[in-house]
Symmetry: C2
Subunit: 255 residues, 2 copies
């Protein structure tokens, strides 16, 4: 896919909805060795700033897999976040894969070297550490307040570290550059009854309020089943009307 | 994609490697409301039984998104696991999406009804609960020892619940039907030095042992940086030779 085909945040078909995908690059998550802690943070953060996270993919440390996933995702969503693979070791291949996906060159970037020199002396800036200053041409840097080696943003793709503390700092750093969307509001109704008993009334409420997204999340607690019913909309008044309607339909189940 | 194009476990190009993808179907993970607990379990279980988990995707409760992801994944890997969206409520659309992806019909399955009757009386088998007995034509059932409503397996796709306890029971239930692969062995070397200092020796070791996968996983603990270096191979002797080589190259850093 050519660079031209990439999504432009300003030319999304529905300018009210700002969307995102997350690409997690990590052999160690796929092997089970490490348990992911980044998906939940980015999901929460996107919801907070009104961006709809629509898809997550996890791929291994393979240039082919990264390029394919990235070029599949970046035309579909306003933004694509990536985590992982930007450290100094031979298996850190994300920056090179991103450059290949965009068809641009990559080299040691003097701005990134300056950031590394806030932490390392020139003598300690080994060839391995200089790998962390390799930035694809045309990218802007994303500062790293934790350990200095920066992430970067190229077109609509934001490339961040995999270490959770650093990823979180980079997410907060890049947020002012993102177009905020309409904030999704939600209301939760907890029902101490199994899904089979609330499915009918919930389905009728959904039919009456098709513009409010409704989901049912079953749980098992203290030996019995219950359900959290979640209603989501960007329209506060519509959301409250739908909730009132649902509570009325479930009045026989709610004490 | 037609049914014919789906992967056949017996016709994988490399019969020694058994691969898998996981498709998590869950609006609530993408919104951040629920934090995923299934990816780590399936990753661990695959590693245990010699299956390489190569890719994970998370999509929302949208038939189009499920069909697209499934038809993208199932020809690429020996198996595709899915979690979520097989309960009784209107937002549980996974079984219908799977039927559409395979181009087969779907209806209430008498075998699944018999399983539900182990838990519910005929009177309690509401239309909503009967939704959980809708199974695509040609699928075999995957028993659910926790709450009875079954999952199913159709060709190389295994469809499971999203509730962790139920998903875990279904994973164990279906495992004897899966072709086991060569078990991946791993050795970990912990180095209390930042990645920048071990990247050189590690890269040289990787070049000397190209058939052993080597990764570096940095951590930050008690105020200083360290790295876990993980070596992975199905060949125990090769793995031990590579580990000995790495320890030798890092002897100046390991006490």
């Amino acid at each position: 896919m050519s660079k031209i085909a990439a999504a432009n945040p300003q030319s999304q078909p529905d300018s009210a909805e700002v969307t995102a995908a997350l690409l997690v690059i990590a052999d160690e998550i796929l092997s089970g060795r490490t348990k992911d802690k980044n998906i939940g943070f980015i999901a929460d953060h996107c919801t907070l700033i009104g961006i709809r996270l629509k898809e997550v993919r996890i791929v291994g440390d393979s240039e082919g897999a990264i390029v394919e996933a990235l070029n599949d995702l970046r035309p579909k969503y306003t933004y694509v976040f990536t985590t992982g693979g930007i450290g100094p070791t031979h298996d850190d291949i994300t920056a090179d894969a991103i450059a290949r996906a965009f068809g641009v060159s990559i080299d040691v970037d003097p701005r990134a070297v300056a950031m590394l020199l806030e932490r390392y002396t020139e003598k300690d800036l080994t060839p391995a550490r200089l790998r962390m200053a390799r930035i694809p041409s045309g990218a802007s840097l994303v500062a790293n307040s934790v350990s200095k080696a920066p992430g970067f943003m190229i077109e609509n793709v934001i490339v961040m570290a995999g270490v959770p503390q650093i990823m979180q700092a980079m997410t907060l750093e890049v947020t002012p550059r993102l177009r905020p969307g309409a904030k999704m509001l939600s209301e939760t109704v907890r029902v101490d009854a199994p899904e089979g008993e609330i499915a009918g009334p919930l389905g009728e409420c959904q039919a009456a309020f098709p513009q409010v997204a409704m989901g049912s999340y079953p749980f098992f607690e203290n030996g019995s089943y219950g359900s959290n019913l979640v209603l989501r909309s960007t329209d506060a008044e519509l959301l409250m009307r739908a909730k009132a309607d649902l509570l009325h339909r479930l009045s026989h189940l709610i004490g």
